[in-house]
Amino acid sequence: MRKVFVVAAREYKAAVRTKAFLITLLAMPVLMGGSLVVQLAMKDRVDTNDKTVAIVDGTGQIFPGIAAAAEKRNREDIFQGNGQGGKQTKPRFLLEQVEPAADDPAQLRLALSDRVRSGEFLAFVVIGEEVIDAPAADDPAAVPERASVAYYSNSPTYDDFQIWIKEPMNQELRRLRLAKHNLDPQVVDQATKETTVANLGLVERDAAGHITVAQKINLEANIVVAMGMMMLMFMVIMVGAAPLMNSVMEEKMNRIAEVLLGSIPPVQLMLGKLIGVVGVSLTIGTLYLVGGFIAVVESGYGAFFPSHVVVWFMVYLVLAVVMFGSVFIAIGAAVSDLKESQNILTPVMIVVVSPMFVWFNVVREPNSTLSLVLSLFPTATPMLMTLRQTVPPGVPLWQPLVGIVLVLLTTAACVLAAGRIFRIGILMQGKSARVGEMVRWAVRG
């Protein structure tokens, strides 16, 4: 065992002392968070050129209301911060009223379409003449053209205007319809006001015997924290375990392996590497968790830090790193060039990444049967069980225990198979092993 630790120590130092390690350590959260930051930063960097839209108001009554709303928006809502002081971040919407052509509406639509094509307008809206009177039909397809509103444009992916116009238009419509029936808009508003449903946790009896006041649930924070824990697990696997493949390939391609095997049996060599990488992963995990804790506390969300899953997280982390690490080692030993390794790596990466495909379903219903089954699938357990445990109220204790047992068994199988592949592959030069060969080595020993 002494040799195992000599190898582990070298592996740890070789990994942690490199500049690449530091860079990756810093770059990972930047990349993960960075895309969010870039999205947020880019969100306001839209085209602020005026957008002119033609409105054909068949009713002759709606346009003024919409125009007033557009003017109000142009005055107040398109600047950074509030009011006109800030930088303009959104385009102005300019409306141009076009008289309806009762005799030939198709001709008018063609003319307007041409003007959109020429760039004069962004789009045009046709408000049917009977839209105020028509009873609301349940099926929009059944509403006749005369009683509907249509938005025509040549830029199907730009929907800001289409979304915006709905509200002032419907407000106008509602006002006009109510007026028609002699109803007081204020009374109707009052009568139809929607009420919200508060999202609260459960109450419990505290130490003093009082029944606690339920806490407001912050849905976003709960999801973000749970996702953060899962992403952290993923990152550590990627930063910690994945480089094992390159480390083994280095030993193989630089012909270090045989020198090493003169001093240490292959299985011990592999175990040493795994232990080294577990050390690396725990280092990364601890650094990120401490960093995350500080960040969360500093930003005033300290209550959301999932301290109750930290120990579980570390246990899963170690198991995941050993489980995937041994697979990466086996691949590194079996291939003889980088290109080959990428081919075999792809399916493995899909397995590693797969929890990401289902995490949202799991986080929304952590205690559904589907979530339980998914999180007991050994390769997904470390990430999904952490996820489920992070989301309140957590899961029954037997579930993570069963998960750990299953992961342990899988890990043992992976290490055993990897050891067999490693022993044969590490000395093979010139050609890469086919997957079939690897399976044969793993099974027959």
Binding site: R2, K3, T18, R255, V259, G262, S263, P265, L427
Partner: protein
């Protein structure tokens, strides 16, 4: 005499290829044992079996190393320098050597490492990364890594290949020094002169079969005094076509003539004198180089008395 390594009837096949065929070998303690043979003849496979990196086919006899069966690769008492060897490029020279010393179970490795670096003229490079070393220097570092733990048995696969004469001498000096301190040395080489000069015993393997095994003298004895080493001055001297000369090995300045068992050397001398001015004429046993070529060279087909390798070739 105690044998440090003993192989009995060892066979190793890879697929359909018989790499080593019914090989037996005994390496006495304290000896320097040279493994020779053409590329792909089974030297490295034999060495790897001694190291327990490869396992012999079922049905093979035992391999005893340091008096025990099943003692193998990871033995701290064996130092191994494989033919295919490399070092961690990003590590510093001193760290690499300390790593190997530690791996071999040495605890007082700091002094030993610095001592070796000093002796091998590498002290200035101790803190440099391996990737900055020249080929010769990294080969010396590899050698140190194999012997740093003062092993009793040292197995070196092609230790001299690619070394310049100066480094070659340094390495030879250290190998002999290790032997003087009691180590047994097995090394493979393509350099017949090195094998002749350094080895107590020479073992040649050809197409997986042992074809030579013994002291240099005993090997040469088998071939007798059948070689004439001659130097003849004169433009366009051509030693071919002399009666009684079976083959000619022309080195340019020196020619080796192989003569038949009944050839009269006086007649050969006379024929040579007809062709130019003879400045050197020596009746000798064949060199190891010559023996090697006779067994493994293209001429082997025609060889009369050395038939086993030819059989082996068709086996």
């Amino acid at each position: 005499m105690v044998n440090i390594v003993e192989l009995e009837g060892i066979t190793k096949t890879f697929g359909h290829h018989v790499a080593v065929n019914q090989l037996s070998l005994a390496v006495p303690q304290g000896s320097i044992y040279g493994f020779i043979g053409p590329n792909g003849s089974g030297k490295t496979t034999t060495i790897r079996m001694i190291m327990r990196i490869h396992y012999p086919d079922p049905g093979s006899g035992p391999i005893r190393v340091l008096g025990r069966e099943g003692y193998g690769a990871a033995n701290d008492r064996i130092g191994y320098l494989p033919e295919e060897r490399g070092l961690y490029k990003k590590m510093r020279v001193r760290d690499v050597l300390r790593f190997y010393a530690e791996l071999k179970g040495r605890t007082d490795f700091k002094r030993a490492v610095d001592g070796w670096l000093d002796r091998m003229d590498l002290s200035d490079w101790a803190n440099k990364k391996v990737e900055t070393l020249s080929k010769g220097m990294s080969q010396k570092v590899q050698f140190i890594s194999a012997v740093i733990a003062e092993p009793e048995l040292i197995i070196l696969d092609e230790p001299f290949s690619g070394l310049d004469p100066v480094n070659s001498d340094v390495l030879r000096r250290e190998v002999l020094e290790l032997r003087k301190r009691g180590a047994t040395v097995i090394f493979s080489t393509h350099d017949m002169t090195v094998a002749e000069r350094m080895c107590d015993f020479i073992f040649m393997i050809y197409k997986g079969k042992k074809v030579l095994d013994g002291t240099l003298a005993s090997i040469q004895e088998r071939y007798g005094h059948d070689t004439l080493r001659v130097k003849v001055e004169g433009n366009g001297f051509d030693p071919h076509g002399i009666a009684g000369v079976l083959s000619v090995n022309d080195f340019g300045q020196l020619q080796e003539l192989r003569i038949g068992p009944d050839t009269d050397t006086q007649e050969v001398l006379e024929a040579l004198m007809d062709r130019g001015r003879v400045t050197h004429f020596e009746l000798a046993t064949p060199s190891l180089h010559d023996i090697f070529v006779r067994i493994a060279g293209p001429e082997a087909w025609k060889a009369s008395e050395v038939s086993p390798p030819v059989e082996a070739a068709h086996a």
